[in-house]
Amino acid sequence: MKLEIKEVGKVFQKGGTFTEVLKPTSIQIDKGTFVSVVGPSGCGKSTLFNIIAGLTKPSSGDVLVDGRSILNQNGQVGYMLQKDLLLPWRSIIHNIILGLEIKGMNKKSAIAQAMPLLERYGLKGFEHHFPAELSGGMRQRAALLRTFLYDAEIMLLDEPFAALDAQTKGQMQSWLLRMWEDVEKTIMFVTHDIDEALFLSDTIYVLSARPGSVKAVLSVELERPRSRDVLLTTEFLEMKRTLFNLLAQEEKEEEQSEGGERKGT
């Protein structure tokens, strides 16, 4: 067991109102597996990631890495936040090497390490531009590259490919899989794209509508390494249907629960 999420729950307070965002939730992730988390918007996926990354205090529960609690500890996992959060006063290349800089690498060698990767991410030629001058997709890719360079054993990726065009997205997915197979990282991945979740993951956790809780766990038994052809197999379509139905059901329940919450507010 690499990462163990133990009964982690979160309640936010706004004024006098309490909103339960995440019910106590448990997830176990083995070393070197690729786990996706899907669920309706607002069900607490980002909140869960924030808790794992030590940025938010959970209302209950614990997070263990190799059996050791990392609750409220920073820098234990690589984390790509949903917002790109590039520092506006730094050029792209300096944004990308931020993690390396913090690790203590000198700027020159950090840049030397990052430069070859720029092409792969479609950022070549933009290294000296500032974030505000880039398109949304490019910004997202820069943020992703920053996370990868940080090179942690566990990586949390919150919709990293959401802003990419279909073609690039596919390439990035394949590339992510190759990278992951090479280095044996443990990855937790949030996405709204069913195809993406299935194509990438070993296990998919389906969360219920807010307050989120694990509604279903899906094992994806596709062979690795996977090529994009797998998307057209009947096996894949079967799983896609299952996942789709699970989510559709959630959506309905969400509407009900929202109605219920409204009365409470």
């Binding site: 924030n50 990354a53 030590g54 940025l55 920073n74 820098g75 996992v77 690589g78 984390y79 936040l81 917002k83 959060l85 520092l87 506006p88 006063w89 730094r90 050029s91 300096h94 931020l98 993690g99 800089e101 913090i102 690790k103 700027k107 531009h129 500032f130 974030p131 505000a132 001058e133 920053r146 940080y150």
Partner: protein
Amino acid sequence: MKVVKEKGHKAGDDQESKSRRFSLYTLLWRCLIGILLIVGWEAGVRLGIVDQYYWSSPTTIVEKGWFQLTQSTLIQDLLFTSGATIYGFILGTVIGAIIGLSFWWSKLYAAISEPYLVAFNAIPKLALAPVLVILIGIGFSSKVVLAFSMTVIVTALAAYSGVKQIDPDMEKLLYTLGAKRYHVFFKVVVPSSLPWIISSLRINIALALAGTIVGEFIASREGIGRMILYAGQILDIDLVWVGVTVLSFLALFMYWFVGIIERWLLKKIGQQI
């Protein structure tokens, strides 16, 4: 925090040459308005609309100024005053920025210190003349101390405002990259507070000058402040105006210089830090 962004946009929208034209245009207008003011002033005096005795007149001021420059100690006085002002300005700005930024480290410490800073700044320096003489003496350094004490608090409060406005998500991001607090400080807090600190520079010019002048009023052997005090004593209002004019030019010069520093600093954060 948006400064660089804006700059980028401008450059991107190929307004670079435009902005150069703009600044020439601005300069032209500035001069024009200055000239208009001066001509209007002179005309007002000549036509007897304003009282020459109190208002002097540009030509008289120039004449008197020239006399002071060539026959008297104007240059020496100016050097003294500007030296103390610039010294105090730099010290005040740097230390003020450090103080303001240091408030990021502890909210409690910041909240406790803030009202004391304000209260300290509210004490009328000139009124404390008899005590200040004991505390800081009457030499050059006493002027520096006063210029410093005027600027340091403004800068500290400005930097603190900057600190309060930092996007907490940016801080979060750094923590996810394993940053220690000092990383966050140098890589996020300092650059994103910089526009706030810079915004205090302009006002600090005036305050540092006021500090030095007050210092010279309290006790001095030289300086523009002493010259003004002396001029007032012997009812030479023309000479008072010479002093005021020289100070205004000193302020404008510092203003221009601060503009250069500002651009340099913004470029600096634009590059890396």
